[in-house]
Amino acid sequence: EDQVTQSPEALRLQEGESSSLNCSYTVSGLRGLFWYRQDPGKGPEFLFTLYSAGEEKEKERLKATLTKKESFLHITAPKPEDSATYLCVITQGGSEKLVFGKGTKLTVNP
């Protein structure tokens, strides 16, 4: 059973069209939730760490938020260079291991 579920699997936006990506998790004792970005042919790149419900982090056009059951990655006025796969990652109490979701592939058209 998947512990991390991301939706949608793929998302196409026009440049400037804001939207949100969803990550829901089922583990108890969440230690931390992280967002990574992965470009084709490259390894994932760290974006954010969130530790507690209500926490928010921002970086350029991206804002990540966390509730007790899910996280959202909000993309405001995206640009074509924001096109990538965004991976949601968790760790749970007692383990330092990162558990990755399958990702949301974002395409931003000019």
């Binding site: 490259k42 291991k97 990755f100 399958k102």
Partner: protein, 114 residues
């Protein structure tokens, strides 16, 4: 600062053959990870080293996969013999500490088993 280096970038082998991947982490990073990423999925941890000791290898198929990290720096991941289902991208990552969730990934090695 140099990133995580991996080689080769691509490898095609036949099933039952052997293959090895090499990783050089970021200088000063004590923790090294090997992940397997199958197409359309997120990376899955295979093994984690702290310096040259194994921290977690619970998801490493030990009957065919092996890994070592000599002198706590470079690491090698080996598959012997390979199966068709081993076709994937093998990612190496490193971090400063064991509880450092900001991991730095290399570009990966794309393995195709025919």
């Amino acid at each position: 600062e140099a990133g995580v280096a991996q080689s080769p970038r691509y490898k095609i082998i036949e099933k039952r053959q052997s293959v090895a991947f090499w990783c050089n982490p970021i200088s000063g990073h004590a923790t090294l990870y090997w992940y397997q990423q199958i197409l359309g999925q997120g990376p899955k941890l295979l093994i984690q080293f702290q310096n040259n000791g194994v921290v977690d290898d619970s998801q490493l198929p030990k009957d065919r996969f092996s890994a070592e990290r000599l002198k706590g720096v470079d690491s090698t991941l080996k598959i012997q013999p390979a199966k068709l289902e081993d076709s994937a991208v093998y990612l190496c990552a490193s971090s400063f500490g064991t509880r450092d969730y900001e991991q730095y990934f290399g570009p990966g090695t794309r393995l195709t088993v025919t």
